[in-house]
């Protein structure tokens, strides 16, 4: 029984195959993406018996994902890498693959399909992923690009008030209190914290980094935080582009 017949038998005949290119066979299995298209799985068959079989997507998974979600930051790359490594899948220039033996083909194929689904779900849950990543991506940026300002995370300007925490303190000649804001609740906490620090005569300047100032906050919360904050960046991308220049100007202004 050859490789494909054996696999078909293991799938209880609910699978078939088509030659895509010489030596490359597409697996037609009842595995679908949310848009109804079939999950693309190919077998790169060995030239001789005994060699490994490569299960591959030939780049289809990351291409589909890229329609609306790019793996364009270290954090997203890390999450993708974690999904792949935890599931034993490798990547070569955008192509996901798993080398296996003839005997291990059936379980390996299921393992591969499951991983493709997980990677594809980075798209399905892009909003949740992005929201969850906002603070992580802000942290990545502060720790790396702004490291010369000796960032301190979770800083308490008033030690007895642990409910008023600053996300990041940056040491310029004057202390900068940086808050990441992605929703109304956090905007109110940042506003309230800044007002309390002002009332306690703490010398600082506040910097707010919004995930999405225009669409993420109500009009009233936009007004409240704008009236209190010294400087705001309307998006993380805006902050990443302009933060260094801003802090450099701040440094120059007080020296």
């Amino acid at each position: 029984m050859d490789i494909l017949e054996n696999l078909k038998s293991e799938f209880n005949h609910h699978v078939s195959f088509r030659e895509k290119r010489p030596g490359i066979v597409q697996v037609l299995a009842p595995l679908f993406h949310e848009d109804g298209d079939m999950v693309d799985i190919f077998l790169d068959l060995p030239k001789s018996l005994g060699e490994t079989i490569r299960i591959s997507d030939h780049g289809m998974t990351l291409m589909r994902l890229s329609y609306s979600y790019d793996i364009d930051t270290p954090t997203k790359q890390r999450i993708l890498g974690r999904i792949l490594s935890e599931n034993g899948i490798e990547e070569d220039r955008g192509r996901l693959y798993l080398n296996t033996s003839k005997e291990g083909l059936y379980p390996s194929l299921l393992q591969f399909a499951q991983t493709v689904a997980k990677v594809s779900n980075m798209q399905a849950f892009r909003r949740e992923v992005m929201q969850n990543l906002f603070y992580e991506m802000l942290g990545d940026f502060v720790r790396s690009t702004l490291s010369r300002f000796q960032p301190v995370e979770h800083y308490l300007p008033l030690p007895h008030r642990d409910d008023l925490e600053v996300d990041w303190k940056l040491n310029l000649s004057r202390e900068m209190f940086l808050f990441g804001v992605r929703d109304n609740a956090k905007a109110r906490l940042a506003t309230l914290s800044c007002l309390e620090f002002q009332m306690q005569h703490i010398p600082f300047r506040s910097v707010i980094v919004h995930e999405d100032f225009e669409n993420g906050l109500s009009k009233k919360d936009q007004s409240r935080i704008t009236n209190v904050a010294d400087k705001q960046f309307t998006s993380l991308a805006d902050f990443q582009t302009n933060a260094e220049g801003y802090f450099q100007r701040e440094l120059g202004a007080v020296q």
Binding site: K20, R21, P30, D35, H58, G59, S68, R127, N215
Partner: protein, 159 residues
């Protein structure tokens, strides 16, 4: 009630459009595929898999910026390979096909562009791009400037 009505979807696809952020002159390799993007009132994505160039997708996405999710309105697709007819005899996966968002799919909690139809309007990536440009009603000026139809003389037959 669905986030997008069918009339809104249809209007978003066919309303006259101008390019606000131009695409690259040539598609850019990115891992295993070639990519290009452009922005209009919505955004265009263009993808072609390197290993199987007949496998491509050209899509139109719209971000309403009013709290609603970004929606894929239209995708002109190449052949994704043969398809097992026993799973879904009507699915056009193995042919050139067009996915279009529908209110019914949104109502049913499916991907908006879940429904797809086989098309005879294009039989190559270049033809699909021109059909797509016509469907989304891109201005003639922008079409000539950013997505000029490839003439026979412009094809690289060495590829």
């Amino acid at each position: 009630m669905a986030d997008f009505s069918q009339s809104e979807i249809d209007e978003l696809i066919r309303c006259p459009k101008r390019v606000t952020e131009a695409p690259r002159r040539e598609m850019k390799p990115d891992g295993a595929y070639l990519r290009n993007n452009a922005k209009l009132v919505a955004s265009i994505f263009i993808r072609k898999i390197e290993d199987f160039p007949e496998n491509f997708s050209i899509g139109l996405m719209y971000s309403p910026h009013d709290g609603r999710e970004t929606i894929t309105l239209l995708r002109c697709n190449g052949k994704h390979g043969d398809y097992n007819k026993s799973f879904d005899p009507e699915h056009p996966h193995c042919d050139f096909h067009i996915h279009k968002a529908t209110e019914a799919a949104i109502e049913a909690g499916l991907a908006p562009e879940r429904f797809a139809k086989k098309t005879m309007e294009f039989a190559s990536f270049e033809e699909a791009l021109q059909v797509f440009i016509t469907m989304i009603n891109l201005s003639t000026t922008d079409t000539q400037k950013h997505f000029p139809p490839k003439t026979q003389a412009s094809f690289d037959f060495k590829q």
